[in-house]
């Protein structure tokens, strides 16, 4: 009786569907939900001007704190305040849409800053070691000694309010944890055979880092960025709430909550609604980040 030797059951296509990160992510319902919400939010933010029922900064002092559904005043033309109006008669619905642009922009650009500072510094520290490593990591230690928001407050105070300064402050506050993460990855990877092989083949150091080491560290970096976006959004909201964010009259969710606070007894919607928006956005990114962590790093099933 001849033993039937079956061909390995996994064709390449089968292997891929079974083991790629994407297929693992697809099984993660929370992450998929988060991803859908993020895509929807991005679309809203991009097309916000088309969705405005009225210019979000247009005021009409005769219809302050109007109830949801109240008709627009004559100066606005036809239409309704879908979610009511604020203390200056501005349309809450349009301002809510406008706020999504600031929040998402700050979230993404701040993470770009974190990437462009943290990845090179962490990679250099980990790869070269020695005095360079010590120097960079000591600076990172100092960054860690400030509570995030307080540090961002001090920077915003020094630089003054404004969108660009927000990017700088938030990027500067969080680059150190990215640098630590990348350094740890590089330290592990640089001992591996394929790095050795690349170096033996005569590849220059920067090439080894960019072409061989960093691509293998991409997983944790992606997870960190995904979880960093909601952090930046939250910081922006907090800074705006404290009056240190973007200048009025630009609508941001944090400053809307701050302004609505004074009218909380008569028009609670004004501060409740932007808070819900922040919560949904942050939640979506947290869900996606958690799912990505599980999908990109199968070894750690820690759901922290």
């Amino acid at each position: 009786m001849a033993a039937v030797v079956k061909a390995p059951p996994t064709s390449e296509a089968e292997f891929k569907t079974k083991y790629t990160a994407w297929s693992r992510l697809k099984k993660h319902k929370g992450a998929l939900l988060g991803l859908c919400v993020i895509v929807a939010l991005l679309l809203i933010a991009i097309f916000a001007p088309a969705l405005y029922t009225i210019d979000p900064n247009k005021q009409e002092l005769f219809v302050r704190n109007a109830k949801p559904g109240a008709p627009f005043p004559e100066s606005f033309g036809p239409g309704n305040y879908l979610l009511g109006s604020d203390h200056l008669g501005r349309d809450l619905f349009s301002r809510l849409l406008a706020g999504s642009r600031v929040s998402l922009l700050v979230g993404f650009v701040a993470q770009m800053m974190v990437l462009s500072l943290g990845v090179p510094l962490g990679a250099i520290a980990g790869y070269y070691g020695g005095i360079t490593d010590k120097l960079i990591m000591r600076v990172a230690d100092v960054m860690f000694a400030f509570p995030d928001l307080l540090f961002a407050m001090a920077i915003m105070f020094a630089l003054g309010p404004g969108l660009i300064n927000l990017f700088i402050a938030l990027g500067f506050v969080s680059w150190a944890s990215m640098a630590r993460l990348v350094r740890a990855q590089v330290l592990q990877l640089k001992e591996r055979d394929f790095v050795e092989a690349a170096r033996a083949a005569g590849a220059p150091n920067w090439w080894v880092i960019v072409r061989h080491i960093l691509p293998n560290a991409l997983g944790p970096i992606i997870v960190s960025v995904t979880l960093g976006v909601p952090g930046a959004i939250m910081s922006e909201a907090s800074l705006s709430f404290l009056g240190l964010g973007v200048q009025p009259p630009t609508a941001t969710w944090g400053s809307m909550i701050f302004e609505g606070r004074s009218w909380i007894r008569h028009a609670p919607m004004l501060s409740v609604v932007p808070g819900v928006a922040i919560m949904i956005t942050v939640l979506a990114f947290n869900l996606l980040g958690d799912g990505l962590r599980d999908a990109l790093d199968p070894r750690s099933n820690k759901k922290v």
Partner: protein, 306 residues
Amino acid sequence: MFVYVIRRLLAGIPVLIGVSLITFILMNVVPGDPVSVSFEKRADPETIARIRKEIGLDRPLPVQYVDFVWKAARGDLGKSFHNNESVSGMIGKFFPVTVRLALSAMAIALLIGIPFGILAALKKNTIIDYSATVTTLTFISAPVFWVAILAQLLFGYKLGWLPMSGYGSISHMILPALVLGSRYAASITRYTRASMLDVLNQDYVRTARAKGLQERIVIWKHALKNAMVPLVTVIGLQVGGLMTGSILTEAVFGLPGLGQLTVMGLDYRDFPVIEGTVLFTALIFVVANTVVDISYSLVDPRIRMS
């Protein structure tokens, strides 16, 4: 052990020097200088020049920095531009409120977070676990100042159970502590759950089960003790979050704490107050982290080796 403690304490010194340098730079890169920015509208150029000289802002920056650090090391953080009070005195007055808020919030967080975390881990993949995950994620994603406003609206205004804001009696602290505590309860629940699950998969738990120990003893005696070790770090990591959280909570509830002092400093553009509170908060943070590291090495002797 002793050597480890000393080494850990010494490691904090360069960090503190770095912190003071960054704080100093931040306060001095402001366009114009602190005095002209603060007094711009209230004083003529001559008075400003006189004040500058009095405070010593006419000296070269490195000299000013050394002077700043030397005085700060002896507890002198200068005087407020706004009311001429000593900044260290103000911090001494406001800090205890923050400590009370942070400690009660942390106590609430641990009381809620640890039991629920254990429960979620033991009932993994059941409805209890899922609802714990959803609740904690929601709390973590909600801005703390917004939750504070909602709590004010519900318990202070609608139900009228507790004062909406202010400071004085214990009832004024309940709402802020609950708001701040609930947020950290969510983090503690998540960490406890993860840590517990980690431990439950360890060999020694399997061994304990294999030798026929009761499940109750396996969990409470073998698993729980070990699961608590990483929590020490988590509690330490939360100190920074608690401080920023209390800045926002104090701002909403009008509690006269360190956060309120910082916000007041920002409103009046009161440089010495901001410089002082930032430096002081960073100092507390560094000390807290050092204490956590040391206590961690006490709980888990393996740490000291590396």
